[in-house]
Amino acid sequence: MQFRSLLREQPGFLNDVLVRTGDFALFVGEFFNRFWRPPFEGRELINQMDEAGTKSFALTAVTGFAIGIVLSMQSRGTLARFGAEAVLPNMLALSVFKEIGPVITSLVLAGRLGAGMGAEIGSMRVTEQIDALEVAALKPFNYLVVTRVLACVFIFPVLTIWTDVIAMVGGYLESVLSSNMDYRVFIATAFSSLRFSDLIVDTLKTSIFGFIVGIVSCYLGYTVRGGTREVGQAAMQSVVVSSLLILLADVLVVRISLTFFGGA
């Protein structure tokens, strides 16, 4: 009922969604058409990796630390009920490295990087800087979009590993304070059942999340029409859409990895 009335009141709504989706698909296609062709803009790629990476270390460190401590605190009581408190480091490592670390890190970065890229490129669009690049034959798509998307693809796994490690540090600190656990016991227990495939697959899936954040934010900024209000909306939508797509992509990736690599 509600959907029918929505279509009646806004008959162009579905049409707009379909047009926008098609437009986005063409934008993604343009990325794959261009990223392997010159100009390669290597220096700008490094700049963007620096912008995305080094300036996110503090944020992801705080995120990881909080995840580790909270997860450890919350799980300790539950495991104690089953007399399984000793496996807490193991459970922490599996949770952090396989799922919570990659997803939470990517969502946090979607907020920081997605909003930033959407706003920056959107501002460039409304102030005609992208047109200025175009008329000077400077290939704005390569300079602005390809560099940012690739930077996210490369940086997300690195920051995920960083977050995971800090999360384990946080979990260890909680264990020391709660049960005076020795660090050697903690490390041995934590990594006893963690497989290499867990690390590789679940860390590399963040490259997919990085691609999503990069391409969605760049698309929304690149296609802004209007003024500062529309730029703000692009920044906000970059975060919301990226976050939703990350969660959906995670479902798909987990399903596929379980099919090929089996369960935990």
Partner: protein, 256 residues
């Protein structure tokens, strides 16, 4: 017999113009912005397109660098059909044309020096020292050498326009397009920018089209003027010809 003030399409003159539009139509959705515009600018001429706000002046000049494609009609520049160019051919044409945007469109994450160097580094084989020499020469030409290390946010409106002009001429183009070059400037800055446009024509033989509703600027720079109204050129000639036009819309624009 048609009324003299009916919508008359002014045909371009014969010859080999450097810039030409032939019966160009352009719409955005159901808004028909350009309705069969035809104009021609000869080599070395400084043309002005005038008209009220929202009449399609910016839309018109964007066709010359293929920022827009016409729905119908032809766009010509330097003997090439602009609306059919692609790839390297389009890039080569664009490098022959400098464009000064209404808001200057300076890259705000770069200093003035870097704004100019960005273009030079990618399109020339100059050494770092040669690029620096060219940049300082160009900034000297617009009297802004001292701003080289400043960011666009630190510049006044008039300074931004002149830096934008410096960036537009750094590759020594044959054509310059000016989108409202003096909008938002004080009368002194209007004269400075207008005089620079005249110097470019006189010293370097640059062909240009400026779109403007600034009468002072138009008076200074015009060799040939076109008046755009409701998507059509309704009057053309010298600045004085437009000033003395009988067309009611033109007379309303220039005032009493």
């Amino acid at each position: 017999m048609e009324s003299p003030h009916s919508d008359i399409v002014i045909a371009p003159p014969a010859g080999d113009p450097t810039l030409e539009l032939r019966e160009v139509h352009k719409s955005f959705g159901d808004k028909h912005i350009l309705r069969g515009v035809s104009l021609a600018v000869q080599k070395g001429q400084s043309a002005v397109v005038m008209g009220g706000s929202g009449t399609g002046k910016s839309v018109l000049i964007k066709h010359f660098v293929q920022l827009l494609l016409p729905d119908q009609g032809e766009v010509w520049a330097l003997g090439r059909r602009v609306d059919q160019l692609e790839g390297d051919e389009l890039d080569r044409l664009r490098l022959s044309i400098g464009y000064l945007f209404q808001g200057s469109a300076l890259f705000d994450s770069m200093t003035v020096f870097e704004n100019l160097d960005f273009v030079l580094e990618r399109h020339t084989r100059f050494s770092k020292a040669e690029r620096a020499e060219r940049i300082y020469e160009t900034l000297e030409w617009v009297n802004l050498r001292q701003t080289a290390l400043q960011y666009p946010a630190e510049l006044s409106g008039g300074q931004k326009k002149r830096v934008g002009l410096a960036r537009a001429i750094i590759l020594e183009p044959q054509i310059l397009l000016y989108d409202e070059p003096t909008t938002g400037l004080d009368p002194v800055s209007v004269r400075i920018v207008s005089d620079l446009i005249v110097r470019l024509r006189d010293d370097r033989g640059i062909t240009s089209i400026a779109i403007t509703h600034d009468l002072l600027c138009a008076e200074i720079i015009t060799d040939i003027a076109f008046f755009l109204h409701e998507g059509r050129i309704i009057e053309r000639g010298s600045y004085q010809d437009l000033l003395q036009s009988d067309h009611p819309m033109v007379r309303e624009f220039f005032g009493p």
